[in-house]
């Protein structure tokens, strides 16, 4: 005998097929009707990679650290590590922030947990990023830069996924209430890009100050910095990464999950009236 309100049914696990269906919808709809289809998910990052490579290694003559295997560093490969992680983050935020507004007509007609379209969007982007990640790992393997530290990548990925989906969730919910959040996030993402060691190594910063602002410290405190650094350590540098950095990203992932839960509880349950 189950007596409850319609809404109390089912855990997040029981909604997995719905999340998966939303993800599939995103993936299918994204490339439908385009001539290159799925290839676009590769063309864009490759183009970005080439542009940054040319600009920073040729014009600014940035010098990348050496590979973990001892081979002389290659800027393009080193950049790819940072860009791969960055694309997961920025791409998810950009698509997920509108997920609830997009699902609005549906949410007004039928009940399902509002987290499902958001998580679906994030999942779709993570799946797309897996292709990029795969290519990156293949390149590394081809360069014979491979070690047991790769086995830690899945753990890193889980933390990163929790971090990303939590932020996406909170922003998607808030975006329904404050529609201009999407524009603010667009600018914030741009700022974050330069506040993370993607196109420059942390070593380049030293102890940089600018007008009394401890720029290097701020950048190091950026959780994305630590996520990217750990990922680079695991794949490019072939070291397990400093334990403190792992702890740092773990705490951030959990903290964001907690925040997302708070926001969801407070704001997401009457969304059907706001949409």
């Amino acid at each position: 005998m189950t007596t409850m309100t319609v809404r109390e049914r089912g855990s997040m696990w029981s909604y997995r097929s719905l999340i998966w269906n939303f993800a599939q919808r995103d993936l299918k709809a994204r490339f439908k009707g385009t001539a290159l289809g799925w290839l676009w998910s590769l063309v864009v990052p490759i183009a970005t990679l080439l542009i940054y490579s040319v600009v920073f290694s040729t014009i600014f003559r940035a010098k990348p650290p050496d590979f973990g295997s001892g081979r002389t560093g290659n800027f393009t490969v080193w950049l790819l590590a940072g860009l791969t992680a960055w694309t997961m983050f920025a791409g998810s935020l950009n698509t997920a922030i509108g997920a609830l507004l997009g699902a609005g007509p549906l949410l007004k007609k039928i009940y399902f947990p509002p987290y499902t379209p958001v998580l679906g969007s994030v999942l779709a982007l993570l799946i797309q990023s897996m292709i990029e990640l795969g290519i990156f790992l293949v390149v590394l393997a081809a360069l014979d830069n491979i070690s047991w530290t790769w086995l830690l990548v899945p753990f890193w990925l889980v933390l990163f996924a929790v971090f990303i989906s939590s932020i996406s969730m909170a922003l998607a919910v808030l975006n329904v209430h404050f529609r201009d959040l999407a524009h603010i996030i667009g600018v914030a993402i741009q700022l974050l890009f330069y506040m993370s060691p993607i196109i420059y190594p942390m070593t380049l910063l030293g102890n940089a100050h600018k007008m009394g602002i401890p720029v290097a410290k701020i950048i190091a405190a950026n959780p994305l910095t630590q996520f990217i650094e750990v990922f680079r350590d695991l794949t490019y540098g072939l070291t397990p990464g400093p334990p403190l950095a792992w702890l740092y990203i773990l705490v951030w992932a959990l903290a964001m999950a907690w925040v997302a839960r708070r926001v969801y509880r407070a704001r997401a349950l009457d969304l059907s009236e706001e949409l």
Binding site: V6, Q24, L106, K108, L269, D270
Partner: protein
């Protein structure tokens, strides 16, 4: 089981009205938190139980809170206070095909919609053939839904929703879509669900549907329960009120409402036509099956002889239903001068509920004194027991005696 399938306990729902949307940060910063410009209580303290396996109707005029109630039952909104408890798998049909994504094919949309309704992948695959069959859209199932006709769209949506095999089905007024054949299919399906013991909650404006389909009904009025009980009683109460209200608010019936040409030489003018109900009171609305009188006021400018009066009743669908005239009986008026009335009485109004345009004429052997073509409006209301057609045949059904027949006797006789 005696437990109700749906239990609504003291439910109220408040919506906050913003005179202007304050959804942007700037608005918030500039003007501060939006003052609540006024709360609107869509529902107040509603309680009812829907017994398991019954069909339950929600009726009321527009804005009475029916749809809000439905959304609360479906879980789309949360009640402000009170609780909605459902026992069983709920499937809500608030809008067909609401979740379709234009770029995806019908098949892909079935998967998406099915999982929103709580079906597993396997269940969807298993029922895919049934869905395609029921929706009757053929090979279009593999075309993107953006190329669907609106009928196909709706049919596919309905097919998915009913395939869920719900224990509790919540239906908004959606049956009124699709072509005749599909509508019939939907009705058949609803009856079948009912037979199977599915609990159905239905919102509709069709009183006939409520009486045909529903066991019980609740009548909501401005967010409060007006009446609750057997659907027949509730519908009756509702119709009585609607009829009364309409009688109050209709314009004077004698006014010429039509815009059709008026013909005739004008020696006799028809001034107005009035309707009198069974009690002899002038009323803009007449009830089917009740005595009625049509009173025609005329004014004759000069003395005229052998005037024949006629009335014409045209249904809103354009069909001429009746055209009684005084020529066929003993002519009531032979000599006229000045003002007067002629009356046409019927012991029982046979016109079915609907809107009719009434014409009136005064003629003399093929010469038209006055002819008001569809100049007046008549509204006929029914009490209940809707029958099809434009007129009602009053009669009685009786059963003859029957005697048992033995098949082998018959065979032996042959």
């Amino acid at each position: 089981m005696t437990d109700p399938a749906v239990r609504v306990v003291g439910v109220s729902k408040k919506f906050t009205l913003h005179t202007e949307k304050r959804n942007s940060l700037k608005e918030r910063l500039v003007r501060g938190r939006s003052r609540t410009d006024g709360d609107f209580w869509a529902l107040r303290d509603i309680s009812f139980d829907v017994p398991r396996g019954t069909t339950f109707g929600l009726i009321g005029h527009n804005g009475s809170g029916k749809s809000t109630m439905l959304k609360l039952l479906a879980g789309v909104h949360r009640p402000t206070s009170g609780s909605v408890i459902t026992d069983g798998r709920v499937s809500a049909l608030l809008e067909l095909g609401a979740g379709f994504h234009g770029e995806l094919t019908g098949r892909e949309n079935v998967h998406l919609n099915g999982s929103i309704l709580g079906l597993s992948r396997r269940q969807i695959d298993e029922s895919m053939e049934k869905i395609i069959d029921f929706a009757d859209i053929g090979e279009f199932i593999d075309a993107p839904v953006k190329v669907y006709s609106s009928g196909m769209y709706v049919r596919l949506g309905f097919s998915i929703a009913v395939t869920v095999d719900p224990e509790i089905l919540i239906v908004d007024e959606i049956i009124a879509v699709g072509d005749e054949e599909f509508q019939r299919k939907c009705f058949d399906y609803m009856f079948e669900l009912r037979k199977r013991g599915t609990t159905v909650v239905l919102v509709t404006h069709s009183m006939g549907l409520v009486q045909d389909l529903c066991d019980q009904a609740v009548w909501l009025d401005h967010g409060r329960v007006q009446r609750i009980g057997e659907s027949r009683d509730v519908v009756q109460g509702y119709l009585d009120l609607v009829n009364d209200k309409e009688a109050e608010s209709r314009p004077e019936p004698s006014e010429v409402t039509g815009s059709h040409a008026r013909l005739g030489s004008g020696e006799v003018r028809i001034e107005s036509v009035e309707y009198l109900d069974g009690a002899g009171n002038v009323s803009p609305v007449l009830l089917c099956g009740e005595p009625a009188t049509f009173r025609v006021h005329y004014r004759a400018a000069e003395r005229v002889k052998d005037v024949m009066f006629g009335l014409g009743f045209q249904h809103e669908s354009g069909v001429n239903v009746a055209g009684p005239n005084s020529g066929s009986g003993p002519a009531p008026v032979t000599n006229l001068l000045g003002e007067g009335v002629v009356e046409f009485q019927v012991p029982r109004l046979t016109l079915q509920p609907g809107v009719y345009e009434v014409s009136a004429a005064a003629v003399h052997r093929g010469h038209t004194f006055d002819y008001v073509d569809r100049g007046y409006e008549l509204r006929v209301r029914g009490n209940s027991n809707a029958e099809p057609g434009l007129t009602r045949m009053f009669g009685e059904w009786t059963a003859g005696t029957s005697s048992p027949v033995r098949i082998d006797d018959e065979v032996a006789n042959v």
